[in-house]
């Protein structure tokens, strides 16, 4: 991945140059951040829609549903008007559980995303900017962190921490600490390339303080990369947590989609044919992951405008073909008139 982004950089500069020329003079300037937004495509719309709907469900759902832990004597009933997604073996409302579990998973995803991005940003960008010994040390450290096998470490740590104190934050921290290194390496490579551009030298020559050079001059040029890494970290965290919870090493004090699957598995939902118990959490994970991935593909287009141009050219080609068809049709019609 490091190689790919590094190589596409010059191509990006090449492509934005002439492509932007025609609408240059005359039009009002768009502020810098506008160029960072991906173009709205059907895929991006679907991705955003999924993510927004699921996030709203995670935020608002728990306020509207009843107690997910309440045990009733209507065990294992299918979806009905009273229980939209049926009940579990012990008569708990699956829909209510789904709402709380979604919230739990989103929390984990957000916490891990923020921590992992901050760690990778610090070790990747700051190290590369400082250079020298600091860079060597940070680079070595992220290489070490990179080869630590994530899941086994999580299992060991989770097994080591007593169940009572194994809360949401513990799991989130463990997931974050094992997942930042790859992003840090990519950011380091990108920063090394941006750091030697003339505009960074120019801002240093005009007396800009180092932190401002990093935050104001370098960081904006890395934003698409960071955004895409953040999105990826969130997906990875939700999946990782689900995996951990499924093998019974999840957070003890909160319910997530993973713990739901864990209880469904323990309650023999599959062999009892209680699909309403395990399909909703599984589908929720899949849909959220899909939504974030679709967003990520759109962010990729900003990093690598080649992709965007490909789409534009395909559209132009389609339009040209349509025009041509239209013309031949008209020509034929005229021919027929005569």
């Amino acid at each position: 991945m490091t190689n790919v982004t590094a190589q596409t950089q010059p191509a990006a500069a090449e492509l934005t140059g002439p492509a932007a020329e025609p609408d240059g003079p005359g039009t009002r300037a768009r502020p810098g951040w506008r160029s960072l937004l991906p173009t709205m495509t059907p895929w991006l719309a679907i991705g955003l829609g999924l993510v927004i709907v699921i996030t709203l469900f995670g935020i608002l759902g728990p306020l509207l549903v009843g107690d997910p832990q309440r045990i009733r004597d209507q065990g294992l009933t299918g979806p009905s008007a009273q229980f939209w997604l049926g009940t579990t073996q012990t008569g708990q409302d699956v829909f209510a559980q789904l709402a709380f579990a979604t919230r739990g998973s989103l929390e984990i995803g957000a916490i891990v995303g923020v921590i992992a991005t901050a760690l990778s940003g610090f070790f990747g960008i700051y190290g590369a900017y400082r250079g020298g010994v600091v860079d060597e040390a940070f680079s070595l450290f992220s290489n070490v962190a990179l080869v630590i096998p994530g899941l086994p470490l999580i299992i060991v740590i989770s097994g080591f921490v007593p169940r009572e104190s194994r809360g949401l934050w513990t799991i989130a921290l463990v997931l974050a600490v094992t997942s930042w290194a790859a992003s840090a390496r990519v950011l380091r490579a990108q920063t090394l390339s941006v750091r030697h551009r003339d505009y960074v030298a120019a801002s240093r020559a005009s007396g800009e303080k180092p932190w401002r050079v990093i935050v104001v001059e370098i960081l904006p040029n890395l934003l698409p990369v960071i955004a895409s890494q953040f999105v990826f970290a969130v997906i990875a965290a939700i999946l990782g947590e689900a995996g951990l919870a499924f093998i019974g090493l999840g957070a003890s004090n909160s319910s997530t989609l993973g713990t739901m699957l864990f209880y469904a598995q323990n309650g023999f939902a599959l062999s009892l044919g209680a699909w309403w118990w395990f399909v909703p959490p599984g589908l929720m994970i899949a849909l959220f992951g899909m939504g974030l991935s679709l967003i990520n593909f759109s962010i990729d287009e900003i990093i690598n405008p080649k992709l965007k141009n490909l789409r534009r050219h395909r559209r132009l080609a389609k339009r040209a073909a349509r025009l041509e068809r239209e013309l031949t049709r008209r020509g034929a019609a005229q021919e027929a008139d005569r």
């Binding site: 300037a29 003339d198 505009y199 030298a201 120019a202 001059e217 904006p220």
Partner: protein
């Protein structure tokens, strides 16, 4: 008005190949003076140390030895954070020297704010427009909010010049300011630099490999070869009466319609490998001196006051 005395500048880079380290001397005992209202052209091929000198002068690199003394008119030395207020640089590539993310206004406003030339936002905006108008970017109101990719190369270089002048710089290091521009707009940018220099009595170090523009836009020419000064003197004297083999080579390399196809053979006349950079012809003294050795104090004193 600010004067710069560069004395015996040496810059070594250590090159690591495998386990071995090798020392490369990029700049070898270079001395030169920048005086208000005068342009010194630094001429030489790629790798001759021109840009290293520019980097040292703008404090992006530390010299291995030698001194850069900057003094105001009344003799007060310029030190610390004041230094970058006095000495600023125009970069070679206008497509790389402006941050694609930020507006033109940002590029000029930052130096203004860093060096506390303006305090309020309104004041800064007004000053930015003023600076843009000074470099002939009009209408300034519509240029300021634009981003670099919406401007042409020449316009971008004007922005870079405005940025360099924004802190109130009196010394301008122009590192091949027109070599990346279309031939048709080079003259415009050079004329602009000339006008700004006259208006502000700037001391300019014009780094180039183009002898023709060096002759027209500078008072003094310093020829650099492999890190050493091999010839120096008034612009016309160096161009019309080159003494050192390398300068002759440079002069011959410049296209001259009168010489016709003969110039193709110029390369053959002077053997590049035989060029000796241990001697330097000083047109001010009218004699050969040793290159790559500490400068004689006396020679400098005589030179600084000399008219072009």
């Amino acid at each position: 008005m600010t004067t710069v005395h560069v004395t015996d500048l040496v810059k070594d880079y250590s090159i690591r190949s495998g386990l071995r380290r090798r020392r490369l001397r990029a700049v070898d005992h270079v001395s030169l003076d920048l005086v208000p209202g005068r342009t010194v052209a630094l001429v030489g091929e790629s790798g001759s140390g021109k840009s290293t000198i520019a980097k040292i002068l703008t404090r992006m690199e530390k010299p291995t030895s030698g001194t850069v003394e900057v003094a105001l008119d009344d003799g007060t030395p310029v030190r610390g954070p004041m230094y970058l207020r006095q000495v600023q640089m125009v970069f070679q590539d206008p497509f790389a020297s402006l941050n694609p993310f930020h507006s033109i206004e940002h590029h000029i406003a930052r130096p203004l704010l860093i060096h506390e030339r303006t305090r309020t936002a309104a004041q800064t905006h007004e000053r930015v427009l003023e600076m843009l108008e000074r470099v002939n970017l009009t209408p300034a109101e519509t240029i300021a909010p634009r981003r670099p990719h919406e401007l042409s190369g020449g316009q971008r270089q004007r922005v870079a010049i405005a940025r360099a002048l924004a802190p109130g710089a009196q010394v301008l290091i122009a590192d091949e300011p027109v070599s990346m521009l279309d031939v048709s707009i080079r003259l415009g940018v050079l004329n602009l630099l000339g006008r700004l220099q006259r208006e502000d009595r700037l001391a300019v170090l014009y780094i180039t490999h183009d002898l023709a523009t060096a002759r027209h836009f500078s008072d003094e020419i310093v020829v650099l070869y492999r890190g050493r000064v091999v010839e120096r003197g008034p612009a016309d004297a160096v161009i019309l009466d080159p003494h050192h083999d390398y300068t002759k080579l440079l002069a011959q390399a410049a296209p001259d319609p009168e010489r016709g196809p003969e110039r193709v053979t110029a390369e053959a006349v002077i053997d590049r490998d035989a060029i000796d950079n241990s001697v330097c012809y000083d047109h001010f003294l009218g004699e050969w001196v040793q290159a790559g050795t500490p400068a004689a104090r006396g020679a400098r004193a005589g030179r600084a006051g000399q008219p072009a």
